[in-house]
């Protein structure tokens, strides 16, 4: 699904040239759950931005579903992001002036979907994250965990095949983080490919593979499939994490 070969990213200013990624090669198969770890400034977010078509790369090759993304124009990249990729951000990135329904509705509007279909999908997605009854509320009226669930609903409402999560639990307490992680695992089990950047080693170990990055290069790729915790109800997991 995702094939990067020798991808490099250089940020240039008049005085400084910074190599954010160097000879970065990674294959991610359909349905995989891959975590990306590494110290701050190692290039995790740059990798995620390139993978999610938020940024272009300076060298190498990147194929998404067999398509060379370097050939895509801005409009085509936006279209691909809208249809194939879902994003979850560390700071949730919800629109503070929009209620939950309108927030989740954003990507569907850009897809040009009919209002009735959008309404049905958004309601269904808010229901699946347990926030349908609060769809008229503003993000500021929710807790951090609830906001991240809304962000996940927004990321999934367009049924993307590829979910990119940038420190999705970074702003959450451990109890809430476990709940969010479980939600992501359920999403992955339903067939969505997930790449998650995290600082939390315990969360990283729950993925099928863990990619460790150092100084813009892949340091190691650990196969962790056997270590995954079997799926159990969210409430039980949350309680155990809290205990």
């Amino acid at each position: 699904m995702l094939k990067m070969k020798d991808v490099g990213k250089v940020y240039r200013t008049e005085l400084v040239e910074t190599r954010a990624l160097t000879s970065f090669s990674l294959d991610v198969d359909e349905g995989e759950f891959v975590t990306v770890t590494g110290p701050s400034g190692c290039g995790k977010t740059t990798f995620l931005n390139i993978a999610g078509l938020l940024e272009t790369y300076s060298s190498g090759t990147y194929l998404l579903d067999g398509q060379d993304v370097s050939e895509l124009g801005d409009r085509q990249r936006a279209r691909l992001r809208n249809r194939k990729i879902g994003f979850i951000f560390q700071s949730f990135n919800l629109m503070p002036d929009l209620n939950l329904f309108d927030n989740v509705d954003v990507p569907l509007r850009y897809r040009g979907m009919r209002a009735s279909e959008r309404r049905q999908r958004v309601d269904q997605m808010l229901d699946s994250v347990g926030l349908l009854s609060r769809k008229k509320h503003l993000p500021s009226q929710l807790s951090g965990g609830q906001q991240q669930r809304v962000a996940i609903a927004r990321a999934l409402v367009g049924e993307p095949r590829f979910l990119l999560a940038d420190e999705p639990t970074g702003n959450l307490d451990s109890h809430t983080a476990a709940g969010v992680m479980e939600l992501l695992e359920q999403v992955n089990e339903s067939g969505t490919t997930i790449i998650m950047v995290t600082h939390d080693d315990s969360l990283a170990q729950r993925a099928r593979r863990n990619v460790k990055i150092l100084d813009g290069r892949i340091q190691s790729i650990d196969q962790l499939a056997d270590s995954r915790i079997p799926a159990t109800p969210v409430s039980d997991r949350a309680l155990s994490a809290n205990a």
């Binding site: 931005n49 938020l54 936006a78 809208n82 990135n93 002036d97």
Partner: protein, 403 residues
């Protein structure tokens, strides 16, 4: 279209939006009424006088020595000027159209009527007036030399021939010029005047006169020692001839002085100076107001964009194209402008009613308000286009930045 979510988001920041909408409404109120006033003034200023203005000038011949004979001087001056190359004709008259100084009177068709039927400017002229002024005689005939009385006022009881304008004929007779010809008008109480000719147009001396198109020519010069000459030149020679004629006349008779030499074009400019100044001032006010409002729209848009940079990046990350980002801000502006111009339409009409009632100004034409609304909306859209394009260039990667 994202009108619903945009409107709901704006509602949560309604104070800033309301202030800009009010500014747009206020601007529209002033701009539409100002443009209407400018157009009204321009229309007034552009009215033709009926004269060959481009080739006319006038002067005053004032006798100052004892024994100065005004009547013979006029005859000699006419001979001199008619022999001067570049001069077409000259007439002696009591007032110059558009000059702001002249005579008017009430006239009636029925001598027994209480009060005049209408009012008209009154020009005392000689038989050269029509040719000199370049008037178009549409019915009847010109005065004869014999009809022109040089020596004094019209005598009570005698019938005087007159030439009137078509507008005056229409004001007095339902059949207009055709019916007017040969009919009698009464001036003051006992002076009957027979209409022997009708000219197409000749405006009164006062631009603000309500019956400016009503004029009456009487073949009667009053000799008071200050003859007013109107001179018509060959096309394009008015400036040259003004100097030459002044010299010629001054040299020909040292018992008088030549003064107040002025072209009709200068006279028109002077007469409408207040109107043209007002139009220019209003135009400046319009430009300043529209500029300030545009800056307000730009300021609100730039502030909104800077405040929402991460949101814009997030929208881009979620699949918004650059065009959709631009459209978002255009729609946002359209909503603000829509509120502003709707309120502005009400205020415009209210302000116009105030102007009509207070200053007796004409009621605004109906199409000014929708045109003003459209113009202000377009100004708003143009103002926000630049910031919107800037917003569209915000990279989607900003969504993942934590600082």
């Amino acid at each position: 279209m994202e009108i619903g979510p945009i409107f709901r988001a704006m509602w949560r920041n309604r104070i800033g939006v309301a202030l800009i909408a009010l500014q747009i409404a206020f601007t529209m109120t002033v701009v539409v009424n100002a443009i209407y006033i400018i157009n009204e003034r321009s229309r007034l200023m552009a009215r033709p006088s009926g004269l060959d203005e481009a080739n006319l000038f006038y002067l005053r011949s004032v006798g100052f020595q004892e024994g100065f004979d005004e009547e013979s001087t006029i005859v000699e001056d006419r001979i001199l000027l008619q022999a001067t190359p570049g001069i077409i004709d000259m007439t002696v008259m009591n007032a110059i159209p558009l000059s702001g100084s002249g005579s008017s009177t009430g006239v009636r068709v029925n001598p027994d009527a209480n009060g005049p039927s209408t009012y008209t400017a009154l020009y005392r002229v000689d038989e050269h007036a029509i040719d000199t002024m370049g008037l178009e005689l549409i019915a009847g005939e010109n005065f004869t030399t014999a009809e022109v009385r040089q020596l004094g006022r019209l005598d009570s009881g005698s019938t005087a021939p007159i030439i009137i304008t078509e507008a005056l004929a229409e004001a007095l007779f339902t059949g207009g010029a055709a019916e007017a010809l040969g009919n009698t008008l009464y001036w003051q109480v006992d002076i009957p005047m027979q209409i022997i000719g009708v000219v197409k147009q000749l405006q009164a001396p006062w631009p603000t006169f309500a019956s400016i198109e009503n004029s009456m020519l009487i073949p009667n010069n009053i000799l008071d020692g200050q003859s007013l000459y109107l001179v018509r030149t060959e096309p394009g020679q008015v400036n040259t001839m003004m100097l030459r004629v002044e010299e010629l006349l001054a040299d020909s008779n040292p018992a008088r002085i030549i003064m107040n030499v002025k072209s009709l074009e200068e006279t028109r400019a002077d007469s409408y100076r207040i109107d043209s100044s007002m139009a220019r001032i209003l135009l400046v006010v319009i430009v300043i107001l529209v500029f300030i409002t545009s800056m307000g729209v730009v300021g609100l848009a730039v502030f909104g964009i800077n405040r929402r940079r991460r949101q814009i990046g997030t929208r881009r990350a979620l699949g918004a194209t650059q065009g959709q980002i631009i459209r978002y801000f255009l729609v946002e502006n359209l909503i603000i402008s829509g509120i502003g111009v709707t309120l502005g339409a009400v205020l415009t009409l209210g302000f116009n009613i105030f102007l009509v009632q207070t200053f007796n100004m004409p009621r605004i034409e109906w199409y000014y308000t929708p045109l003003g609304m459209l113009a202000l909306v377009l100004v708003g859209l143009l103002a926000v286009l630049g910031p919107s394009r800037g917003a569209a260039r915000i990279p989607p990667a900003i969504a993942t930045r934590t600082v």
